[in-house]
């Protein structure tokens, strides 16, 4: 999403400043990731100690992944400029409580999307193994992400030295 703003910044200042914007955004993203990781790790401490580590990892990992996916869907809704059909918007407006109605639809949906994988992991070893495979496949893009984060840190450092 930061790349959508790249040209806007480059037009008004310089390309180096636009690269700086990306670098700072990556650094902030890294800090956010670390923050979420700490929260997730602490949540893991709440799980029963007698559970296998694989099960604990799968459970917490799936929760984190699904919540992130929902957050991304929320972002994409605005980025794409998509809007609900006019008839639905009209009905929501006429109801007098559009936010409540939306929450009452979305909350069970989100809850269901969390409950089903959690239930599967608690009940099925196969689900645990599937989760592990998903996380292993996500390792590669994570490494790319870490590489760019480190590059971002380097650029931030260079900019501070040159300023």
């Amino acid at each position: 999403m930061v790349f959508m703003d790249f040209s806007w910044v480059a037009e008004r200042t310089t390309t180096w400043d636009a690269i700086g914007l990306v670098a700072y955004a990556l650094l902030i993203a890294l800090l956010e990731t670390l923050g979420v990781f700490i929260v997730v790790a602490l949540l893991g401490l709440l799980l029963p100690a007698n559970w296998a580590s694989e099960k604990r990892t799968a459970l917490v990992g799936v929760l984190f992944l699904i919540l992130s996916l929902w957050a991304m869907i929320g972002q994409l809704y605005f980025v794409s400029g998509y809007s609900l059909p006019p008839e639905i918007l009209k009905r929501l407006g006429q109801s007098g409580h559009p936010v409540r109605i939306l929450l009452s639809i979305l909350t069970p949906l989100v809850a269901l999307s969390l409950a089903m994988p959690v239930w599967s992991i608690l009940r099925s070893d196969k689900a645990v193994r599937m989760s592990r495979q998903i996380f292993e496949r996500l390792t590669v893009p994570s490494l790319f992400y870490l590489f760019f984060d480190l590059l971002g840190i380097l650029i931030v450092f260079i900019r501070s030295m040159l300023a």
Partner: protein, 513 residues
């Protein structure tokens, strides 16, 4: 019985003659302190979007600026002063460069002066001074950043905002500009509804709301802000200016640009409702071709009057802070050797279906702005009525402080520091959707000459199938600009039209291939 003068008395008389010739000149020059031994400081205070139409000093029936009236009692009041453009970027660029928008080409929203002209600015001209600046307004900060090599100290915009301890950008003071943009885009959901971060924005929002709770009581219409949630307190900025100029290296020139009374109109609690019981209303003017209200939802007179009342309340609040600043500068002796200038960058409209200043129109409310100059030591008010322009401020300041003149400026030295020129031409330009390195199109240009005002709008969608629209008004006989005279005064119209088109052609010449 008359007695003839004695020889002694005649000699005394002849001895007094030279003093009688020299002394008045010394007194006159000390009124403007042109002969002062000490170089004089300059303070320029700009209130954003302040229209002369809404100021009591200029005849507005609501007493919106009693403090400015008080300050003007020792100053020079310019009654027909015009902005360079109808929004901040061209307006401020004209003030800072002494050139019109068709020259400096800072004509788009948040854009900067064309590179070749960037060094032609006020701060560069005052190279021997300590030069400092602050602005609430992002567009002004874009301009200041462009010319930062000519400014000794630019106070960071956010330093005088209501602080948010979570601000990550404070960790990078040396690269704060880009760090703060990245931080904001990461955590603040702007008008587009999203931020870069997935989770941080929620935390930030909750924390910021808690910070603001105490201030919300003081500002019932919302805390003064830029955009969605960059909150600031005018009081804080005024206090900073007062402190800064009392400590600044002498001589100094300071440019201080405050956002009020730019919308949103958020006065402090005691000013809300200040004009509720007056009888000042609105009268209907014909909807203009650039009106912002659709035919399905015409804007009512009542709504229009209410918006104007809110704006006037905001001006009243800002005026109180102006008064506080002036009192403080007076009390600590800064004004004894300082020229105090008060002005605006552009105005604001509440008529003809046009609200605010984001419009192609160049009616008086958006281009007629205040200017009060208070020379050090002046005791009486003076009034100047010939038309003047924001581009005149730079050459005037150079002249009155004894600096070398700026050859590049299109402005003139203001009266009474030079002879007034009632028939001089004053211009304004609006061209925010034009390419700055091409002939202006679409654009609005204005010429004020004597009592006449000619406006030329061209190449706008709204004008189709015609390519252009001219409007001619007699500002003395018709200050509300209700009667278009181009049909009834063809000679005047053709004379002014020829001048305006020639001027525009000359300005566009470097950009014609």
């Amino acid at each position: 019985m008359k007695r003839s003068l004695s020889r002694r008395e005649v000699l005394k008389l002849f001895a007094a003659l030279p003093a009688g010739v020299i002394l008045p000149r010394l007194i006159q020059s000390s009124d403007f302190s042109l002969q002062s031994q000490l170089p004089q400081n300059v303070i320029i205070v700009v209130f954003d979007a302040l229209s002369a139409k809404n100021i009591s000093l200029y005849g507005y029936p609501r007493r919106t600026m009693p403090n400015l009236e008080r300050i003007a009692e020792r100053g020079i009041v310019y009654h027909n002063h015009y902005a360079g453009g109808n929004f901040t970027t061209p307006g401020v660029a004209s003030l800072l460069t002494g050139t019109y928008p068709w020259t400096h080409r800072a004509i788009g929203l948040g854009t900067t002066i064309i590179k070749a002209k960037a060094q032609h600015n006020l701060f560069h001209a005052f190279a021997g001074y300590y030069r400092l600046a602050y602005s609430h307004n992002n567009f002004v900060n874009s301009l200041l950043r462009q010319i930062r090599d000519d400014v000794d100290y630019i106070k960071r915009q956010k330093d005088l905002f209501v602080s948010n301890p979570l601000a990550f950008d404070r960790l990078f003071p040396l690269d704060n500009d880009i760090a703060s943009v990245a931080w904001e885009r990461s955590v603040k959901k702007g008008a587009d509804g999203y931020s870069y971060s997935l989770f941080l924005s929620e935390i930030y929002e909750k924390y910021a709301q808690r910070q603001m709770r105490d201030l919300r009581d003081l500002f019932p219409r919302g805390i003064t802000r830029i955009g969605e949630d960059d909150y600031f307190l005018l009081e804080q900025a005024i206090d900073w200016v007062s402190l800064q100029v009392s400590r600044a290296t002498r001589p100094f020139i300071g440019y201080f640009h405050f956002l009020p009374p730019h919308r949103p109109y958020c006065p402090r609690r005691e000013y809300v409702g200040a004009f509720d019981n007056d009888t000042v209303g609105s009268f209907e003017k014909p909807k203009h071709i650039f009106n912002q209200s659709g035919n399905e939802n015409p804007i009512s007179l009542k709504y229009q009057a209410n918006q104007r009342k809110w704006y006037d309340e905001f001006i009243l609040y800002a005026d109180a802070e102006l008064g506080r600043l002036y009192n403080s500068l007076q009390a600590n002796g800064v004004l004894e050797n300082t020229w105090f200038i008060f002005t605006s960058d552009h105005g604001e409209m509440f008529e003809r279906g046009i609200f605010g200043h984001r419009t192609p129109a160049l009616f008086q409310p958006v281009v007629h702005i205040p200017l009060v100059i208070v020379p050090p030591g002046q005791r009486e008010r003076r009034d100047v009525y010939p038309s003047t322009s924001a581009v005149d401020l730079l050459p005037t300041l150079l002249h009155i402080t004894g600096q070398p003149p700026a050859e590049w400026t299109e402005g003139r030295i203001l009266p009474p520091f030079a002879e007034p020129s009632p028939e001089r031409s004053v211009y304004a330009v609006e061209a925010k959707y034009s390419n700055p390195v091409a002939p202006l199109s679409p654009a609005s240009v204005m010429l004020v000459k004597g009592k006449y005002k000619l406006t030329y709008y061209f190449d706008y969608e709204q004008l189709r199938p015609d390519a252009s629209l001219f409007e001619l008004y007699d500002l003395e006989g018709d200050p509300e600009e209700l009667r278009d005279l181009k049909a009834s005064e063809p000679r005047v119209f053709n004379w002014l039209k020829e001048e305006l088109l020639e001027k525009l052609w000359a300005a566009d010449l470097p950009y014609r291939s």
